[in-house]
């Protein structure tokens, strides 16, 4: 015999009846769109590659089963049962937990600020992709038109376009600089698009989600097919998926897998609660939770195959260019006829020449070319999208078309996640009735979007990227972990496991089995607590810092190449900068450049020249900490 549910407080239903999804597909697509975000493209493949390829799937699946799916089910069930946004839900469970709802709304607000900033960057790149040649394919000319701009020559055309022509970044976070108007209007356009899609709540979101949730899959498939047909793709895939089981002994792997699942599903934002609150009460949320979580993980895998086939192509391309460059140097120096040394002959010829004319060969700026070095040069976060992938796209025939597709995909991915963020803010506000009933919903959404846009203008300053990184690293992750822990504990111990299970039985027709009860009661809270403690410990170990781009920074003699050893795969002394985007690690390249920064004599001084350290450039050589939250979603 099923017990009737608690009476729904009628006043919470927005006066009239609560809006409903037009059909189940809209609801599923909205949740999938919210869960599948930029992190699936630019975080998961990087983790897979760093943590021993196929072996990473083991901790990932374990985390999914014991942490991701149970927590997800809790959110969907509680939202569907209590039919309110996050503030209403937690206040209904216990007045002492109302702060949790408020915290979720505030966090969603802060995250949406910088998440849309990233979308503004994506939009900027999208708009600039409609030209041939692409603007990041070559450096701009210097003043007397005899060469290229020095900052660009020292780094690379794509880095220059990102750091100088897009962000116009300053060397220090204290130096705010001016507002970049081109990014400001892109941000305005992004908020206008978001407003257009959420203007009437799920009525408009439900229609927009058909496109924004399915377009990325279409583009991913196109990229997959194109990527697999490019030369060198298989090398990238083999490199990615070769399992290295030894790595499972490193506890960082398990921590990163658990964190990745947690952030990837966008838990504890209140967005899923908001979405499921618009469901009909008797919806099988258990099936939904499992399905959406599995779709999210499958998408990550699918995307990593596409991404790594492209990166494998890029690595092969760079490797062949490296070899060709060396061959050309030899031919020019020793005046051999053109095309007389093929790529395969090069090692033998080099050996012969080193033996016969060592002094001449030693003077040459030859570089050691190893395919593994180029394959290692992966990146995560914005660095993958705006530096690595843009460079890969340059080498593909029909580059502008691929760039348009890629940035269009990123934009729609981020947009569907923004819907969830905004619903997490707007639904609780609507439920609480902050504006009088007479005021139409359009006005509330417009007001929220306007406030968000005005607040986000701080990220449009020249130092905005640094602020975004700090926001991303320190605002979201810890809070989310605390909220998720309180959510699970609040539902299981405050609301009551028995009451919760009965509610689920009423909604889905079946009591939750022992797997659910065990994970809710013991496993998930423990896991969350462990992750939280590990996170705080790791944060506390290192001094707080951020990575800066300083155009006058000179890495000094430490990065000069020599023929015999393994060498910095890029040019010699970098008149350019510390070549790292936030969230980007280039183990081969960045590490060597940064190691020189650690001794005080080589750190960057206040005037930007090498001198006594005043603003130490972070020497985050391992680069595993401080992974931005948006990376993962």
């Amino acid at each position: 015999m099923a017990h009737a549910p608690e009476p729904d407080p009628a006043s919470g239903d927005l006066g009239d009846e609560r809006p409903k999804w037009d059909n189940k597909a809209q609801y599923l697509l909205s949740c999938i769109g919210f869960a599948v975000g930029l992190g699936n493209i630019w975080r998961f493949p990087y983790l897979c590659q760093t943590y021993g390829g196929g072996a990473f799937l083991v901790p990932y699946v374990i985390a999914l089963v014991f942490e991701g799916i149970p927590l997800f089910h809790v959110e969907l069930a509680i939202g569907q049962r209590l039919r309110k946004g996050s503030i209403g839900v937690w206040t209904a469970i216990s007045p002492y937990l109302s702060g949790l709802g408020l915290g979720c709304v505030t966090l969603s607000f802060l995250v949406s600020l910088y998440y849309n900033t990233i979308l503004a960057w994506v939009l900027w790149y999208f708009l600039n992709s409609f030209q041939h040649p692409l603007p990041w394919s070559s450096c701009p000319l210097d003043l007397n038109r005899t060469g290229f701009v020095e900052e660009c020559q020292g780094s690379s055309a794509v880095s220059y376009f990102w750091y100088r022509q897009t962000l116009n970044i300053t060397a220090d976070i204290n130096d705010s600089g001016s507002i970049q108007w081109q990014l400001l209007i892109c941000l305005a356009a992004c908020w206008a698009v978001v407003y257009m899609c959420i203007i009437r709540g799920i009525e408009t979101t439900g229609k927009a989600i058909y496109f924004t949730a399915s377009f990325p899959y279409l583009v991913l498939t196109i990229f997959l097919i194109r990527g697999l047909t490019l030369p060198g793709a298989t090398k990238g895939l083999i490199y990615l998926f070769t399992p290295n089981m030894q790595i499972l002994q490193n506890p960082r792997v398990w921590l990163d897998a658990a964190t990745q699942i947690f952030f990837s599903l966008s838990l504890a934002f209140g967005g899923h609660i908001a979405f499921s609150s618009y469901n009909s009460p008797r919806n099988n949320c258990r099936k939904d939770a499992v399905a959406i979580a599995l779709v999210n993980s499958m998408t990550s895998l699918y995307a990593s195959v596409a991404v790594f086939s492209i990166l494998g192509f890029k690595a092969t391309n760079s490797y062949e260019h490296c070899l060709d460059r060396n061959v050309l140097i030899l031919i020019n120096e020793f005046d051999f006829p053109e095309h007389s040394i093929s790529r395969d002959d090069y090692p033998a010829v080099l050996m012969h020449l080193t033996a016969t004319q060592p002094r001449r060969v030693a003077q040459l700026p030859l570089k050691a070319c190893h395919l593994e070095d180029f394959l290692d040069k992966s990146a995560s976060g914005p660095g993958l999208a705006f530096i690595v992938f843009t460079e890969a796209v340059l080498h593909m025939p029909g580059a502008p078309g691929w760039a348009v597709l890629f940035f269009g995909m990123l934009f729609t991915l981020g947009l569907s996640s923004m819907f969830g963020n905004m619903e997490a803010i707007i639904t609780p506000l609507l439920d609480k009735g902050v504006l009088p009933r007479r005021v139409p919903k359009e006005a509330l959404t417009g007001l929220v979007c306007l406030v968000c846009f005005l607040s986000a203008t701080c990220f449009m300053l020249q130092s905005g990227n640094y602020w975004l990184e700090i926001f991303d690293n320190f605002v979201a992750p810890l809070n989310l972990l605390i909220f998720a822990f309180l959510e699970v504990v609040g539902v299981v111990y405050v609301y009551g496991m028995k009451r919760f299970c009965d509610d689920i039985a009423w909604m889905t027709g079946r009591q939750p089995g022992p797997y659910w009860r065990l994970t809710w009661r013991v496993v998930s809270p423990l896991l969350l607590l462990t992750i939280f403690v590990a996170y705080v410990t790791l944060l506390a170990r290192k001094p707080l810092s951020y990575r800066a781009w300083n155009p006058q920074y000179d890495c000094g003699p430490h990065s000069s190449p020599n023929v015999s050893g393994k060498v910095s795969p890029d040019k010699t002394p970098r008149a350019g900068a510390v070549p790292l985007a936030p969230g980007e690690t280039l183990p081969g390249l960045g590490a060597r450049c940064l190691r020189a920064a650690v001794p005080a004599s080589c750190a960057v001084g206040p005037n930007g020249r090498a001198g006594p350290a005043a603003h130490p450039v972070e020497a985050d050589v391992e680069g595993q900490e401080r992974r931005p939250d948006t990376d993962r979603r």
């Binding site: 015999m1 099923a2 017990h3 009737a4 009476p7 189940k24 900027w124 708009l127 600039n128 409609f130 030209q131 070559s138 701009p140 000319l141 038109r145 005899t146 060469g147 209007i185 892109c186 305005a188 356009a189 206008a192 698009v193 407003y195 257009m196 203007i199 009437r200 408009t204 009909s280 008797r282 919806n283 099988n284 031919i331 020019n332 005046d335 051999f336 006829p337 053109e338 095309h339 139409p440 359009e442 889905t508 027709g509």
Partner: protein
């Protein structure tokens, strides 16, 4: 005697044109890279053309209009194809200053390139940087045009949505509001029987008649 003179002249010439000599420039051609199958072989005729082009460039410099082809000396031609050249003055004892040669070549770089069907990258004058052509910038950057289009579409869509929302609301308000009140009253009456609200009845010992709950109602179909 004549042979001795000839050797003397070539010896002097050889001194003027040497790798690394004063006012000498190295030239490097990458013909096969540029032309692939249509590459021509580098022979003395091509060298003659090159000397002619250099002489032509020098003639355009004021005060040097008397430069002849024989004033241009080539040496050290390798298989690469690369060689050194100098331009001598009319006495053939001194070489012209490098600055003059450099500016002359830079002025006429396009003509020289075209004579050999090459470009700045495949016909290299080491130590003479070429003036790079600036990229052709359209008067209005393309991204602004596309931005304008997208932004206008979005603004129009937002306006339409707001207007249709206002219209919907006006239509709803125009309907007699008594109908709404009556519906509310009916709902209230249904849930309150004999002054007792129905909902808590269940928890006070009421039973749900399972006969009225069909299997279909349990789960919402997908």
């Amino acid at each position: 005697m004549l042979r001795l003179l000839f050797f003397l002249v070539t010896a002097i010439h050889a001194e003027l044109c040497q790798p690394g000599a004063e006012n000498a420039f190295k030239v490097r051609l990458s013909i096969r890279t540029a032309l692939g199958d249509k590459a021509y072989a580098w022979d003395t005729n091509e060298e003659y053309l090159f000397k002619a082009m250099v002489a032509f460039s020098m003639r355009k410099v004021p005060n040097r209009e008397a430069t002849e082809i024989s004033h241009v000396l080539l040496c050290n031609v390798t298989q690469r194809v690369s060689f050194w050249f100098v331009v001598t003055d009319s006495s053939k004892n001194h070489t012209l200053p490098a600055v003059e040669v450099q500016s002359a070549i830079r002025m006429n770089r396009n003509r020289i390139n075209n004579a050999f069907s090459l470009n700045d990258q495949t016909l290299e004058f080491l130590k003479i940087p070429s003036t790079l052509a600036p990229p052709t910038d359209p008067s209005v950057p393309i991204w602004i045009i596309i931005f304008g289009v997208i932004f206008c579409i979005v603004i129009v869509a937002i306006t339409l949505l707001i207007l249709s929302g206002i219209r919907q609301r006006r239509r709803k308000n125009k309907e007699p509001s008594e109908v709404d009140d009556a519906e509310d009253k009916c709902e209230n009456m249904i849930t309150i029987e004999n002054g007792i609200p129905c909902d808590p009845l269940d928890t006070k010992g009421g039973h749900i008649n399972d006969a009225f709950m069909t299997e279909d109602e349990r789960l919402t179909p997908l």
